[in-house]
Symmetry: C2
Subunit: 123 residues, 2 copies
């Protein structure tokens, strides 16, 4: 179990951050109209609003580097993923530490995002 | 909705960390035999194993200080909580940054922990 879940979590995170760093407007298919994103404390719901938020973030380029990823089964085939990592935006020399939780719901052979919580670590 | 959930999340986190910092052996009632804890990457399941892990952590005293807490509804009344904070152990002068996810399941008038993922931020 643990191995399969870890593989699913990794596959999701790889795809998510590759897409985010490539063209974050393409993240739409991962969300639904009832999906929730809390971004630095701001609650946002639904694919349209989430994409609007993500594509309006004030940087041109971003690169996420995952440091740790923990995966647990939730209920009814859902999966909980906690990612910690670093991200670099534009020409900033200093990476920022972040953490992000995804709650993924199985749908056919893939998963969509029900819950998404993102926080920078500003300690 | 958001307000109530935030209050529930805060009440839970306050109780959890007060109990953890006071006598973490008393956290047992928050877990069930199918509850999962991933502690710094180590997967642990069930109240007994979780308590054994928490009470065997190599420090005598610990104090958690919550920096941020984000709460979202999950499915069927469940609640997802992401906490970021700092903790101090024993006489160490340097607090450690951590983050922790809880997935809480309603039961009567209270909640138990289905999923618990803990990570120090060692960046």
């Amino acid at each position: 179990m643990a191995t399969d879940l870890a593989a699913v979590g990794k596959q999701f995170a790889d795809y998510y951050y590759q897409t985010f760093d490539g063209n974050r407007a393409n993240l739409g298919p991962l969300y639904r109209d009832f999906s929730m994103l809390t971004f630095e404390g701001a609650p946002i719901q639904g694919t349209t609003n989430i994409l609007e938020k993500l594509t309006s973030l004030p940087f041109q380029t971003v690169k996420h580097m995952v440091s740790t990823m923990d995966v647990q089964p939730s209920t009814d085939g859902k999966i909980l993923v906690l990612v910690t990592g670093m991200l670099k935006v534009d020409d900033s020399p200093n990476p920022l530490a972040y953490n992000q939780v995804f709650h993924l719901v199985p749908e056919g052979t893939t998963y969509f995002v029900l819950n998404d919580i993102f926080r920078l670590n500003l300690a």
